[in-house]
Symmetry: C2
Subunit: 379 residues, 2 copies
């Protein structure tokens, strides 16, 4: 396996982007990425598209050649990768593997989702497909309910409080207010987060990520560049909550993290900055534990202490995270890489952290059936 680099990034703003089509968003991100990488469409030897469910959201399937063609990339293999909310991360994982093993020298990865043209009820139904339709969603266990159960168990087992959960929301809303590409730029207080409209006990609306439109792209290359993908690992776990032995930890994240740390030859303590999959506030807390940043059960007080703020010892989701930057599903795993690279380049503006030499992204699918962990390093 040879070194693999991220030679360019491109991203649209995230939000409820009425009048912007899925194709339009993907082409904007790809065009920005090509320009940033100094490449032309004909340089792409393959296209990896991360997308959860464009057919249901927009009616358009066969998405990879559809997007590639619109961006001027013709002839080469163009494939859509689906791994629920980890679709973007999975596309990246396969692209990284193909370049690392010598199958290609230059490939394009694009994550995209257009969600806001559907009604809220239909969006909930589409999202529920990422769980076990028969055992969970068909009987009402949609993701807010599933992650609420996970949160309740974490509270019961480790003394995690609603204030700990709300601290994640307050931090990520603040961070997003500094990100011009974020969906929500509304700073909130702990009191506001706690007093939000109830969704599923113990969650208020402020514990839940957003339904967004958006796209992100990265150029993966074997050619030397400033930032290297030191590791990228994908792992699986049970789709249904009922099949897990302990719902306060996600096996797929632990497996992927262990592989990624080994591949990069580093430990969790070497990470300077992370973007993690905060689809719900509890998911960010559990990610802190599963990624080895803090001991099992200790994430609540640690995050509430400010340790993961922009000026903390380990800044997490400085982009605003899925919570406030937004969560156009297929785009999320690719956008995490773009946001980390802005920090690594020192181009993150008012949310810039002091040190970003080694960065980690964690992208989760469903309630943990897929997890992708990527580690970036400055050369």
């Amino acid at each position: 396996m040879r070194p693999v680099h991220v030679a360019g990034i491109g991203k649209t703003a995230f939000g409820a982007l009425a009048g912007r089509s899925l194709k339009d968003l993907a082409v904007e991100a790809i065009t920005a990425c090509l320009s940033d990488a100094g490449k032309s469409p004909s340089d792409a030897e393959a296209v990896y598209v991360g997308n959860f469910d464009a057919p249901s959201f927009t009616g358009q399937n066969h998405l990879a050649p559809f997007i590639a063609g619109a961006a001027g990339i013709h002839g080469v293999p163009a494939t859509r990768f689906e791994a629920a909310c980890a679709s973007g991360g999975s596309a990246l994982f396969h692209a990284m593997q193909a370049v690392a093993s010598g199958s290609y020298n230059n490939v394009l990865v694009c994550g995209v989702e257009k969600m806001t043209s559907q009604t809220t009820a239909r969006v909930a139904q589409i999202l529920a497909g990422a769980g076990d339709a028969e055992l969970e969603s068909n009987i009402g266990a949609t993701f807010p309910a599933i992650f609420a159960m996970i949160a309740r168990r974490h509270m019961h087992q480790y003394g995690t409080t609603r204030e700990h959960l709300a601290a994640v929301a307050v931090k990520n809303h603040y961070n997003a207010s500094l990100n011009p590409h974020a969906h929500l730029k509304k700073v909130i207080t702990l009191e506001q987060a706690l007093a939000g409209k109830p969704v599923a006990e113990p969650f208020t609306i402020y514990d839940c990520s957003l339904v967004s439109d958006g796209a992100a792209a990265v150029w993966i290359s074997s050619e030397p560049a400033a930032i290297r993908i030191a590791a990228c690992a994908q792992a699986s776990g049970p789709v249904s909550l009922a099949d897990k032995t302990d719902i306060t930890t996600l096996e797929a994240t632990r497996l992927a993290a262990a592989k990624a740390y080994k591949q990069a030859g580093i430990a969790a303590s070497d990470i300077d900055i992370a973007e993690v999959h905060d689809c719900f506030t509890i998911a960010e807390l559990i990610a802190m534990e599963d990624l080895g940043f803090i001991e099992k059960g200790g994430s609540g007080p640690w995050v509430a202490s400010g340790a993961t703020g922009i000026n903390g010892s380990l800044p997490v989701n400085t982009s605003g995270g899925l919570k406030a930057k937004g969560h156009p599903i297929g785009a999320t795993g690719v956008a995490q890489i773009c946001d980390l690279i802005l920090q690594m380049r020192g181009e993150a503006g008012p949310r810039q952290v002091a040190k970003a030499n080694t960065a980690l992204a964690q992208n989760l699918g469903g309630s943990g059936a897929t997890s992708v962990v990527t580690i970036l390093q400055r050369n």
Copy 2:
């Protein structure tokens, strides 16, 4: 790139399988494949699932870990690949590439689709997503209409007749009658094919492939086995018919075929047997030309002469093809490999051909936006 082998195959019967779920079908195919390969679930280092649109057909998304887990495969990367009707071929292409380049030694590929639980109108709508939704399907240009236009043009340009098209249907219906796993086992005459219920001029119902349920699996390995994947290539072309300069040829198939022949170091004339993507009768004729088996425009008389029958000079779709074996979309590209291997092993029963040392599969997505060409050789 090192040699890659198909060490095992497994397949369900294809048909309108009421009472059989998508998960159930996938697990049956995987279990048969594991048994044929002499492997256990824990031997799989990754799982590649080819599926077009389970979310729309069944409500279940996040399909790869869902299926892998049900088959007893845990922890490893499990990803769904979507490339319209070439989803199975695309999963195979990426699996082959990962094993050839040394990323894995043993992986499982499973193609699956459960289509018949939806109404015919809804199925047509879901399938239309593989074209350009905005420019084609939303204004009524569904696939029968699109391929009918292609057929009309081929007839105009090369003198191809309705009898030539019908000859494909007659052959494939006969072949399927010899295949216990086929969806339709009804032998038809040329007169019956021509007098079928009209669908889209010049097509009758006998020019169109079936809506089926089914699954197929193959075990891909770097370990020595009797049958080697000599080449596997995926290529892209325009999604919309309006973007093609000549609609009587599919650029993606020509590109993929050229790459595959080069990779295998052989010519079209070296192929003993083929399974090609006869979603409509015209697609089989055009495939003959794009794969280099016959000169451009000459496919109609050639196929009608019996050259591609079981006892012809180049047997094509001895399984019965999509036309009569059935077309559970995601399964098709994987099932083609299973059917060729039955012939290569001499296990094809009454449809066994005399010589099957070098075999070719062609799996098409949409009206040619994706094509995957695979070449198998006996060691």
